[in-house]
Symmetry: C2
């Protein structure tokens, strides 16, 4: 059988939209998603699940109501379920998200930045 690696750089080369996660892999009922982000996202929370952010290239701040974490390439953070957060990237940043299938990027907040949650690349 033919087994193929999932190459992150090749996947990132296939889209340019910001704040629009693309699924690249599934593990059980979880998905690995890539996103390019720039600017300020909306405050939101995911009431049922933790959410993992891994920075692949660039820098990302995740703001919380009582602080923030600054991530650079090679760093990750787990946002606990139910905690309001707002990702912010001054310059374009490439991130990988890990979360259960079906999680919507804007959580309970919704709005115009809400992306289709199951677009593969």
């Amino acid at each position: 059988m033919k087994y193929s690696p999932i190459n992150l750089k090749q996947k990132y080369a296939q889209f340019n939209e910001h704040w629009s996660p693309r699924v690249i892999a599934e593990m059980n009922d979880y998905q690995f998603k890539l996103a390019k982000v720039k600017g300020e996202f909306v405050w939101h929370e995911h009431s049922d699940t933790d959410e993992v952010f891994i920075v692949i290239e660039g820098s990302l701040d995740i703001e919380f109501r009582d602080g923030k974490v600054s991530l650079k390439a090679g760093e990750m953070f787990v946002v606990p379920k139910g905690i309001e957060h707002k990702p912010v990237a001054e310059n374009e940043c490439q991130i990988m998200l890990v979360e259960p299938k079906g999680v919507v990027n804007t959580g309970e907040t919704g709005g115009e930045l809400t992306a289709n949650d199951d677009v593969w690349v």
Copy 2:
């Protein structure tokens, strides 16, 4: 509140044993683990879960009974549940594993390479 990034390089600097995964993060009932690997692991399978391999530095082959996949830094692969596999690294390789809490590295095979499954770094 103080929020701290999880820095992969800093975590890798804290251990040197091969084939001995260290937990660095939990998301719901899943864990992110770092491992340094070199040489041949044992053939094994995980009958209840998929398993994600992400290569952070170096190169890793994952052999299957009917083929193999070769991964380099920036590449990942999802080994489906129930599929026998044997990781092999000619030179030392740094990998990140994602799988449910409680998964044992040697799966159903066991043996001397079996590591404690919940050691944090």
